[in-house]
Amino acid sequence: MTVQVSEISLPNRQSGQSAQAELRDAIDEQPLLDWMTRWQPFTADVLRDLAARGVPKSQWPQSRHWNWGAKMAEVSGLIAFRGFCVTCNGVTQGLMRVDLTPLAREDTQAGKPLVYVEYLEVAPWNRGDGGRTPHYGGVGSALIAAAVKLSIDEGFRGRIGLHSLPQADGFYRDTCGMMDLGPDDGYQRLRYFEMTETQAQAFLREEAPE
């Protein structure tokens, strides 16, 4: 399968400059190597720092246990599952796995197919854990944009759904404008969010002409 690459721009929050980046519709060997050799050591440093400073565990990265190698291996060869990544300067900045089989729950679109974002994580240096300044911004938004675009390409009209980690609720509700359907008793009481066709159009809307 040919990997499709979309050129995107990310702001470097430390330098104030923007950087050219790639949004790729696959998670192949290199992103998993980056996760193993770059993300994990960085996460270990962050955890040591948080522990040393006595930061409550509720503020530690909630995806710290994730194993992307296992996540991708378990769906290898299954066409209902797709992987996406964002790379910048040759390094993976974010990862996402989606499932095309779940159905929508929100009243106006209940029972219709959607793209379900099973896992989405940005690289640990792009997070503000413990007051750090994230490196690149926009990685999470780029991955959500990819999920919405895939939904459109699949004929799902932009509908997407996901369970948010508690630290990310505000992003999906306020930044992405998704419907908050509340805590899901069947999924660790994580809040379930859904994007409708109308919300998807708004999210992907191109700039209005001057």
Binding site: L10, H65, L120, V122, G140, Q167
Partner: protein, 162 residues
């Protein structure tokens, strides 16, 4: 999938993030996936005892987390989480390697870690006692060492349920 937007469009999306944390999916949080062998009802005391056990066994051998990770072929960040976070569920592979390295039965360490259903109530009782006696301080005291050795003995006993 190809998505074409201007540089300004992507930067605007980034600005709207406002440095918020972004992540989705419970994945490996405790009890998230029915497809794993994780026991949702694993007693919390066992999990506390598991973290304490790993920490004290490591310190008893005068190893840093990094040294234990290297010797047991494990990831240091996962070891750190195991020792510090009672909600953490370790990977079965990790417990397997720890059992090998510390020379204790794998099946009982799996139970202690909450990866298999508790089948031995005595192990749970002893785990509670161990957790209560071994509260972490910097140096391994004589009492902690005694608690550790007693618990290793219990852990290594043949169980009537096995």
């Amino acid at each position: 999938m190809n998505l074409t937007r201007s540089k300004e469009w992507w930067i605007d999306k980034a600005v709207r993030e406002q440095e918020r944390t972004i992540a989705a999916g419970a994945g490996d949080l405790p009890g998230a996936h029915a497809s794993t062998a994780i026991s949702e009802s694993a007693p919390g005391e066992n999990r506390i005892a598991f973290g304490r056990f790993v920490s004290l066994m490591r310190r008893n051998r005068r190893l840093t987390v990094e040294e234990l990770a290297e010797k047991a072929e494990l990831d240091a960040s996962e070891l750190l989480i195991i020792e510090d976070d009672v909600h953490a569920l370790p990977e079965p592979r990790t417990v397997f390697h720890l059992a090998q390295f510390f020379e204790v039965p794998q099946s009982r360490l799996m139970q202690l870690a909450g990866l298999t259903m508790a089948s031995d109530s005595r192990l749970t009782q002893e785990a509670v006692r161990f957790a209560a006696r071994s509260e972490s301080i910097d140096a391994l005291t004589r009492e902690q060492r005694a608690a550790l050795e007693a618990f290793v003995a219990v852990l290594s006993e043949a169980s009537s349920n096995e």
